[in-house]
């Protein structure tokens, strides 16, 4: 693995990182937790840039929302009281279900977004909460809506010379009721088969915002807007959640592999969507 890797850099500032990435183009790979880079075969990688010394591990709640630094580990997110309170703990739950303690201690939220394997835990949660990510490329920064990650792989969005710096979960979602369910062979399985992330924003008894996101069962996490429309309005109830679950199954075509069949996945998906929405409605 990484048989052409010649050099390791340990920058202390983001601007040093961006310079190294610009100088080396597509031959530089970013290292944070290392749990992915240590396992992939990347013959074009000649230099590695360790970004864990650049002040990108942080969790802050500000007026515009929850700011999370790219090198914050899953374990830090899972155990953070701030993250546990925000949007009824969606991001904390998603982080806590990543693999095992050993992986959560090392793996970072930024890595989970950029190396966007279909089964990654974090992207469905961020999509359900209308998150944005801050990317810096050379010296230019840009905010990217998380919906872009439904369309393209994370590495293509960040680019060869780009660095994902932080994630912002907007303050409007702070009081949204949320649910995050992961279906896998076991809690510690790296590879979820189905992820369902739902969030409902109420004004009194009226559901003004609904997010129904499906992940792992599809190549990239998707919002099923048709299902969300079913829930919006006065007092959504079990019937509307059941109908929403049916709509999800009508609109999602599951990826299939050796682990389970299409029919099985659709059946489980329907159950999980309903269960997830009922959980949201419990608060």
């Amino acid at each position: 693995m990484l048989k052409n890797l010649k050099n390791f850099y340990y920058p202390n500032q983001v601007k040093e990182v961006t310079k190294i990435l610009a100088d080396h183009g597509g031959k530089a790979a970013i290292v944070a937790g290392g749990t992915i880079l240590s396992r992939i075969d990347s013959p074009k990688t000649e230099v590695a840039v360790d970004i864990t010394r650049c002040g990108l591990s942080f969790i802050k709640e500000e007026r515009d929302g929850l700011h999370i630094g790219a090198t914050t580990t899953f374990q830090e997110l899972y155990k953070s009281p701030i993250v546990q309170q925000f949007a009824h703990g969606m991001v904390s739950k998603a982080s806590g279900l990543v693999s095992t303690r050993l992986i959560r201690n090392a793996g970072t939220v930024g890595g989970s977004i950029v190396y966007s394997y279909s089964y990654n835990n974090m992207p469905p949660a961020f999509l359900a909460l209308d998150a944005k990510v801050l990317i810096v490329d050379k010296s230019e920064e840009r905010w990217v809506d998380f919906s872009e990650f439904s369309k393209k792989h994370g590495t293509l969005i960040v680019g060869e010379t780009g660095l994902l710096k932080e994630i912002l979960v907007p303050s409007k979602t702070k009081n949204w009721r949320s649910s995050y369910l992961k279906f896998a062979r076991s809690y510690s399985d790296w590879e979820a088969q189905i992820i369902v992330a739902t969030a409902l924003g109420f004004q009194d008894e009226t559901c003004e915002n609904a997010r129904v996101v499906v992940g792992a069962i599809v190549q990239r996490p998707v919002r099923v807007v048709e299902a969300e429309n079913e829930i919006l309005g006065d007092r959504p109830d079990t019937k509307s959640f059941e109908r929403a679950a049916e709509i999800v199954c009508e609109n999602v075509s599951p990826m299939v592999d050796w682990r389970s069949s299409k029919d099985y996945r659709k059946e489980v998906l329907k159950v999980l969507v309903k269960r997830s929405l009922l959980e949201c409605n419990k608060f």
Partner: protein, 158 residues
């Protein structure tokens, strides 16, 4: 390339390959208590502490511990002066083949530094990355509880 790191309290400079795994580096330097199991980050037999956090050394590059501290099972205690966790694993009968023990003990050591009185559930969660093919995990959890009590009674640092 050069790697400057502190292993079990000893600061040294080593010569490594940039793509070398932390597991391979540690074993090459004689830390055979760090076991090679799955090489995919699933079994936990390669667990070490990096800056006090339990991680799987088979999914980390050695170069990542530049300027950082690493603790292996060899650094926790010795045969003459075992760590309370090591002693408790023996007393509780938490060893059959023993292969999972170093990783489990290291993961438990991290737990006890932040949670001196963990419940069974908390122990199981903290050790969820350490697999054992011999036992049913009962004795390991008991051993950690025993060690927690020993440490709190003695006032020793975990």
């Amino acid at each position: 390339m050069k790697l400057n790191t502190t292993i079990n309290g000893i600061k040294k400079t080593y010569e490594i390959q940039p793509n070398e795994l932390l597991l391979d580096f540690l074993r090459r330097e004689g830390y055979w208590g760090v076991k090679r199991g799955c090489e995919t980050g699933d079994c936990g037999s390669c667990t070490v502490l990096v800056e006090g956090k339990a991680v799987a050394s088979c999914v980390m590059l050695a170069a990542q511990v530049e300027g950082r501290s690493v603790v292996t099972i060899e650094g926790l205690g010795t045969t003459q002066h075992p760590h309370p966790l090591q002693q408790s694993f023996v007393e509780a009968g938490a060893t059959q083949c023993g292969f999972c023990n170093p990783g489990m003990i290291i993961a438990a050591a991290e737990l006890l530094t932040s949670n001196p009185k963990p419940s069974q559930k908390e122990i199981a969660e903290a050790l969820d990355g350490n697999l054992c093919r011999c036992t049913g995990y009962v004795k390991q959890i008991e051993a950690v509880q025993r060690a927690a009590e020993k440490i709190s009674t003695s006032g020793e640092k975990p």
